[in-house]
Symmetry: C2
Subunit: 398 residues, 2 copies
């Protein structure tokens, strides 16, 4: 990195003829042109003749639109979802940062597709049952498409997530968890709103939804020129897991990739319906869910999509504890990525398994702003004297 | 949109030979294979022979790395900053959504460059004074580069932003606003930490910082094949304003663009040092700042960079009230973009000016999660009966 830079100097912004060496960076303005009264800033100067003109050549369509041939018709306008970075945080360990989507989670890829179905079918609006990311994402895509949206929210979401759900102008109704699906079915049947989350007792979900998640596989393949050995996925209902697997399977079937990665579902240990379904050899089960702060993936019910992704890829379902997710969350933040607890479940699963041959991709699904407990610990004030500040910094190892 | 899709049908995930028409979307699973016990999901099927193989051809480097020839040497590792979407929310009105950066604000473009200077110079760490976005972004880039980071935070940041500042492992010290710069200079002088925010009484800032913001201009030009007539920029110290202007000026000087957009600084009416400096014809002033919720841009002091961008582009500095920013924030959310209040200042300025010929770009700088008041209004619970829910939905216009 850096060897391609055409930067050659630093200049005064006021008097560009006054040049300084490129380094060290001028952090107090231009030393020659600043006066006692005015601190004039400096900027970087370049050898413009050395800049390759093809730098500004058109790039492929951005985000999901790039993959339109392999998606359902995208009748709903987009918000620039997809095209998220793949970051190597350790040797052979890659993280796909899905907090970089329009509503800062992977759900935007799904909702572009589900809202497209609603638009294509002329639905008068959409309805979604969600504790957070899915609902806010659906509300954003409905707003973008000019469709009304109803969100049946769980009462237990963090306060910031309640603001998030309400931000896009949807009608948000807080109801007890067990009432959400019966009410949603009724809203669909009586008002004709298009459902963009699950309607059935077991999880089936929207047929077009996981298609959006396939694009994660396409992006990884296009960026790396190959596929990883394994992918670790935070797993609630298994839709993301299935979609990513399907994308890799398609790349294999198209003759582009020589293998399909092993898919690892990473469920909160407090629940884990997919793990249970696989152990019992059944398509789906319902489990009791104990206490967990991973509220975005604490599903009580699984669906056949998860079973298909795991069994067809030779993968496995892993149960990760809140402590393991918290450790993974710290590891990600230490690499510059602040994820919500659920979003770190993929890395938690990888760290639990240890002996997986790489390269490995962990999907990180969502921003740390959405966690329970955010805002609970204000920074400790320090006396604003150099002595007090120096003591604190020395204690911190500076 | 949508005409390129190769989707042809829906299939049972369990029994792929069972096909259904592509539309309407199956939202209750496959009707043929589901049984009384198991709801089997459906998925979308494609005519894979029709998919163009060049779909997976390599794209240019993503984000800031694409523009390395026109940036200072990028010695610090990136987090995939840049490459944000440009969304048309009304005819000729485009929004550049900078909430899509690694720490969900434009500041990441700057901190990739400033941290690169710290790495190149072998600094033992970095220090930043910030009420929010700048500090968290610096902490993330320091973490990614393996450098310790000190954040001198204002005590008045929202609680969620305090969690954000602390998330990346920096040493966060909350001190009164007026103590931040003297302490910062002392930390630089005594501990040798590299400063990535301003050090001087008037604003000069880091010479390498605004270079990162130039990439916003490059991205707009590369995506549109031309430049807009005007750009509206939320403005605190004027670094973003200057950087975006410089990028467009370079495109003009390189012979690629035929004009430079008029740059409009959008400052909170509660302060507005750049407006004052321009009115007085001086490089920089200090003003008193009244109450405003736009805490991310409520600067008391301006710098010559802002004056240069406005005067050299034939633009102007606008003062926008909190009410105007709140209206712009609602307009953006209604298009699917939830911004913090400060982040909507660009659109607020455009709406104030009215008669600007397009196309126009408003820079939207940061996620709504960072606002004051987020989490203050939980959704009103509704009785979980169909009668109660129906009444609420009818009242909402459904």
């Amino acid at each position: 990195m850096g060897q391609l830079s055409s930067a050659v100097c630093q200049r005064s912004v006021m008097f560009p003829a006054i040049e300084h060496p490129l380094s060290p960076a001028l952090t107090r303005g231009c030393p020659d042109t600043s006066t006692a009264d005015v601190a004039y800033p400096a900027e970087v100067g370049y050898d413009y003749a050395a800049v390759p003109r093809e730098l500004f050549a058109p790039a492929p369509a951005a985000g999901l639109d790039r993959w339109a041939p392999l998606l359902p018709p995208l009748a709903a306008p987009g918000l620039g979802e997809g095209g998220t970075p793949l970051l190597e945080i350790a040797d052979g360990l890659l993280v796909k940062d899905e907090s970089r989507n329009p509503t800062w989670s992977h759900k935007d890829r799904l909702n572009r597709c589900t809202t497209s179905a609603a638009v294509a079918e002329g639905a008068p609006g959409i309805v979604v049952a969600s504790s957070g990311n899915h609902g806010a994402s659906a509300a954003a895509y409905a707003a973008r498409a000019g469709l009304p949206c109803v969100v049946l929210a769980s009462a237990g979401a963090p306060p910031a997530v309640a603001s998030f759900l309400a931000a896009y102008g949807a009608t948000v109704l807080a109801v007890p968890e067990e009432a959400r699906w019966p009410l949603m079915r009724r809203i669909v049947d009586e008002l004709g709103l298009h459902p963009v989350s699950n309607l059935t007792e077991q999880h089936t979900g929207h047929a077009w939804g996981p298609e959006g998640y396939k694009t994660i596989a396409y992006e990884i393949f296009a960026e790396r020129g190959g596929v990883p050995a394994a992918v670790f996925v935070p797993t609630g209902y298994g839709e993301l897991l299935f979609g990513v697997w399907k994308g890799f399977q398609e790349l294999h079937d198209l003759g582009l990739a020589d293998r399909v990665p092993r898919m690892f579902a990473c469920e909160p240990a407090a629940g884990g319906p997919l793990s249970r379904a696989l152990a019992k050899g059944v398509p789906a089960v319902r489990v009791d869910v104990g206490p967990t702060a991973a509220y975005a993936i604490d599903s009580a019910v699984s669906g056949y999509r998860g079973v298909a992704a795991i069994t067809r890829s030779g993968g496995a379902a892993l149960l990760v504890s809140d402590e393991e997710m918290a450790a993974a969350q710290r590891e990600l933040a230490g690499a510059g990525l602040w994820q919500e607890l659920s979003g770190a479940a993929g890395l938690a699963g990888f760290r639990q398994l240890r002996d997986v041959e790489g390269p490995v991709v962990c999907i990180a699904t969502s921003s740390g702003f959405k966690d329970l407990g955010v805002g609970a610990t204000p920074p400790e004030p320090v006396e604003p004297t150099w002595e007090a500040v120096e003591a604190r910094l020395r204690a911190a190892g500076f």
